[in-house]
């Protein structure tokens, strides 16, 4: 089963990371899910694949009533991001799924209907969680062509989806990046191969470097905090992406 770690708390405003399932079979990529709660409501970010639903569900429900989930934010359309959608909707059929307009007719293959999806336009939107304003920040082509991050300016937390993702070797499973140089080696190949546009990457770096971010939370690997956030942005800015040797 996965474990939950509260990474930010101010009263009932919380960010909870749902991470690291020792029982997860190796053929499934490891993912981090995040729950933002405010005023008794919750928004689940990149809820994960159908196969890990039991593990995410049980970890989440230990802290939070899953029927109080108001919505799901899906950074993009990948199966490791949102193929569990139908199962979450079983718990709350009225729940909304925020996703790029590009994927709003693709992701219903995982579940949901016409009422489920809130299409995010390319420039992003504000999502209100019981009055807490969360911003969908454009991160197109990083890696998906219709891709968003989610920013909470009160908590100063940026959920970055696949940006900042690292495929960590066994044993290196800390929740936070502790040694940037050692960590980033496990992110380099992924970013070079998965991220499709140097131009989009440059714009993302510009945008995010102007934001006040204490924690950058990727969907895979460890969380960057403090000075490592800017370190990551600079590293990413320098990296040539869209590279394939074949």
């Amino acid at each position: 089963m996965k474990t939950t770690k509260t990474i930010f708390q101010d009263g009932n405003h919380k960010w909870v990371a749902i991470v690291r399932d020792p029982e997860k079979p190796n053929y499934l990529i490891d993912t981090n899910e995040y729950l933002v709660t405010y005023g008794g409501k919750g928004l689940l970010l990149d809820p994960g694949g159908a196969e890990i639903f039991p593990s995410v569900f049980s970890a989440l429900s230990a802290d939070f009533d899953p029927t109080a989930l108001a919505g799901i934010f899906a950074s993009h359309q990948d199966p490791d991001v949102c193929s569990s959608l139908a199962l979450w909707l079983d718990f709350n059929p009225a729940m909304r799924c925020y996703i790029s307009w590009m994927w709003s007719s693709f992701v219903p293959h995982f579940g949901g209907n016409a009422e489920t999806f809130v299409q995010i336009p390319d420039e992003g939107i504000d999502i209100s969680l019981d009055g807490l304003s969360l911003k969908a920040i454009p991160a197109h082509y990083l890696h998906s062509s219709g891709n968003f991050n989610l920013y909470d300016k009160v908590a100063k937390v940026l959920f970055s989806g696949d940006v900042g993702a690292a495929l960590l070797p066994p044993g290196m499973d800390g929740l936070f990046v502790e040694n940037f140089d050692a960590h980033i080696r496990h992110a380099e190949g992924f970013h070079k191969r998965w991220m499709g546009s140097n131009e989009a990457k440059r714009r993302w770096c510009e945008r995010v470097s102007q934001m006040d971010v204490d924690m950058l939370c990727p969907q895979h690997g460890a969380i960057y905090r403090g000075a490592d956030v800017q370190r990551f942005i600079s590293w990413f800015d320098e990296l040539q992406v869209g590279v394939i040797s074949a």
Partner: protein, 213 residues
């Protein structure tokens, strides 16, 4: 038996159902193919009877009847497509439901403190039972439709046998008429064989009503 083991135990049955439907569909396509063959054979037999003149009047009438039979048979077999499609649909939904059931059961096991999971698992089971009942109805309808075809083929068999008898009165054409009527008999038997195989399909005969527990 736990909810999890019930859900997992069901997997092979639903998968087998889908495979059996595929076999049924292939057999239906075979019968449609043979019915086209009878149509062509009957056309040739009609021309042969015309050439034989008064000696093959009865044979000509029977050939006409066999032609009508082949067309009816084809229409009837093709009309089964809708039922087959509905069965595939139900079984596919069932297969998806098994996966959902497995994941919900696992969630219920890991989060026993959540009453919502047990409730949703119950709803899910009820939905699966409803789907099961629909599949049982479709199974019965398909079986009934195949029995109707079987009756039709019995009639085709009688026509082919009568054509064999009529061929004997064909004087100088008797040998060629006998050959044609023998071929009729052969293809009708072929259809009968296919229908017998369909009747025996485990999709109908197995104790399938409780394939989802």
């Amino acid at each position: 038996m736990t909810a999890t083991s019930i859900m997992t135990a069901k997997t092979p049955a639903a998968g087998t159902d889908l495979l059996q439907i595929v076999h049924i569909n292939e057999e239906i396509k075979r019968v449609v193919g043979v019915s086209v063959k009878i149509n062509i054979m009957a056309l040739n037999a009609i021309f042969l009877a015309k050439r034989a003149g008064t000696a093959a009047l009865g044979f000509g009438v029977l050939s006409n009847e066999l032609r009508v039979f082949s067309q009816d048979l084809r229409t009837c077999m093709e009309s089964l497509n809708g039922l087959i499609h509905a069965c595939v649909n139900q079984v596919s939904i069932g297969l998806k439901g098994i996966r959902t059931g497995r994941l919900l059961s696992e969630a219920a096991r890991l989060a026993p403190q959540q009453p919502a999971v047990a409730r949703i698992l119950q709803d899910h089971k009820r939905e699966i039972e409803r789907r099961d009942q629909q599949l049982t109805i479709l199974r019965r309808q398909l079986k009934g439709a195949l029995e109707d075809v079987f009756q039709m083929v019995e009639l085709g068999g009688v026509l082919a046998k009568s054509a064999k008898i009529e061929a004997a009165y064909g004087q100088s054409f008797a040998a060629s008429l006998a050959q044609v009527s023998g071929e009729f008999d052969g293809v009708v038997e072929e259809i009968r064989g296919s229908l017998e195989a369909l009747r025996r399909s485990a999709f109908f005969t197995g104790n399938r009503n409780n394939w989802r527990g």
